[in-house]
């Protein structure tokens, strides 16, 4: 389906509203329940869902090691900043260097894992990806890379590079805008994919890979493309997020919680749909935020049963269900 202009415009408007609110809150302070933290969470989860959707949603392969990309992004950015500080270079060198490291590391990981693991189907692929994630984590600890289990301290170098004023901006609004840019980039890439041959190839792969190949789809190429794109976006998200943490420890960076959240976001909104991650990111982010006050850390207890229910009852997710049960929406919602 070629996506309707209205649909794309509507999504972009939603993005603009959230970003606008974030900036507004920064200037005038919280608007009732809408605080900077809430909007940060929304941006993060929308970005996470939108980025992971490109792989899980569009191909139907479950990457249980997705957090490895975010971890490499966090480490890539943080170690870039630390290196710039140690070399006595100005701060923005560190950020540029960090971005280059993030993209290099995540594409390398994606190409290596994609080249190997994407030859495996379903269960075997899932097992391989979990192993890659844990393997990487223990490699970082075992060989003492990036300070290993002692943790890579970022806040110190950041404060010295940018001053405490600059650091606090970087840790809040600037990193939020970066997170936002990742979400937007992921949205734009999704639109491009869905509107071109790539999207059709990925849909065919998701529905029936063998049939897709017979119909002329170079399945390996498109799977690796989706995996790498989604992986680099995950890395960029990790890089943007790294400004918010004081130090990075392997168990936190490679925490499977992020993978769980990413899966929930994609499946709840509707795998492979364009609007799904916005819907589920908003739901999940707000619930996590509002629960944090009353029952901190309870969001998974709420969402894990919802995830199981969605898979069993409505595997097409919220947006997918709209498309399935209200035929008129199929023409314009993707």
């Amino acid at each position: 389906m070629t996506l309707s202009r209205t649909h794309i415009l509507a999504l972009l408007t939603l993005y603009a509203i959230i970003l606008g609110l974030r900036i507004l809150v920064e200037v005038v302070g919280p608007l009732g329940p809408i605080t900077g933290q809430l909007l940060t969470l929304l941006a993060f989860y929308i970005a996470l869902g939108q980025a992971f959707n490109i792989f899980l949603g569009m191909t139907g392969y479950v990457d249980f090691g997705y957090v490895a990309f975010m971890a490499l992004g966090m480490y890539g950015m943080a170690s870039g900043v630390v290196r710039a500080y140690e070399a006595g270079l100005p701060g923005y060198y560190g950020i540029v260097f960090g971005l280059i490291q993030t993209i290099t590391l995540t594409s390398l990981l994606a190409l290596i894992v994609g080249g190997i693991a994407l030859r495996l189907r379903g269960a075997y692929f899932a097992i391989a990806t979990i192993s890659v994630n844990e393997g990487l984590r223990y490699l970082v600890e075992g060989l003492d890379i990036w300070e290993g289990s002692r943790g890579l301290i970022v806040s110190g170098p950041l404060i010295r590079l940018f001053g405490s004023e600059g650091f606090s901006l970087l840790a809040t609004i600037i990193s939020d805008i970066m997170v936002f840019s990742v979400a937007l980039l992921a949205l734009v890439i999704s639109i491009v994919f869905l509107n071109t041959r790539i999207g059709y190839a990925l849909k065919a792969i998701r529905e029936d890979e063998d049939a897709a190949r017979v119909m002329g789809v170079n399945t390996t190429m498109y799977k690796v493309l989706a995996f790498t794109t989604s992986g680099i976006l995950g890395g960029l998200l990790g890089a943007a997020w790294s400004f918010k943490v004081a130090s990075i420890y392997p168990p936190d960076a490679f925490n499977i919680l992020y993978t769980i959240e990413a899966i929930i976001l994609v499946m709840l909104g509707g795998a492979g749909t364009l609007a799904g991650p916005i819907v589920s990111g908003t739901l999940y982010g707000s619930l996590k935020y509002f629960l944090a006050g009353i029952l901190p850390g309870f969001q998974l207890l709420v969402f894990a049963p919802i995830l199981v229910a969605v898979i069993v009852v409505a595997p097409e997710g919220i947006v997918g269900a709209l498309r399935a049960y209200i035929p008129a929406t199929r023409r314009f919602i993707a």
Binding site: M1, T2, N195, T196, R197, Y200, A201, K203, A204, R206, E207, D208, D210, A211, A212, R213, V214, M215, G216, V217, N218, T219, E316, G320, R323, A324, P327, R330, R331
Partner: protein
Amino acid sequence: MLEVLNVTKRFGGLVALKNVSLKIERGERVAIVGPNGSGKTTLFNVINGVYKPDEGRVLFEGVDITDLPAYRRAHLGIARAFQIPRPFPNITVRESAAIGALFGSYYGRIGVREALEIADEKLKLVNLYDKRFELTGRLTVPELKLLELARALASKPKLLLLDEIVAGMPPAMVDHLMLLVRRVADEEGIAIATLVEHVMRAVVRFADRVIVLHLGSKILEGGPEEVLRNPLMEEIYLGRRWSP
């Protein structure tokens, strides 16, 4: 146009195809006949690249395609319509058909918009145009077979491999479908190879030439009437009467 040269395919100890050779010319309609287990489906899988033969070569338009992966063969213009339709249940009928167009012999030359136009055109042809926004998973089995055909045709094939597409369809629809395929194939010069388990009159009328496979070997080849009259046929089917 298609040449299969001395192809042998084994699965473990089982020989599924034994030294099979055949030719299909441009625009020709060939029925490949044989009982269950005769190697028909394996032959199709060798032609469109799902299996690589252990021995022998496959040539398409004079080019050796034996080592080409399945998807590259689709780009060259070999299309397949599966016996058991392989629907893409969660996408619309229109998108399903468009996938055929995007990755068939138009590959790399058309965009999504043109593919959707081609899809619409072929869906009109098989009478599914009204259901083009329906999810594929909701079609009935005969409708799925029509979609399978539309998708294959949308790829603008030079050679169309029809798995037993008529199996399990009501007789009236079989006639209609065969006429339709024949008309389109004539208009566009598509060669057709169709698999047939039981020799039916509709198929006999449809095919220019019949090839009979038995236990992996080609045992008969010729015009339909001639093949049907051959006493070997009765032996193969163990006295089973083909439908009138």
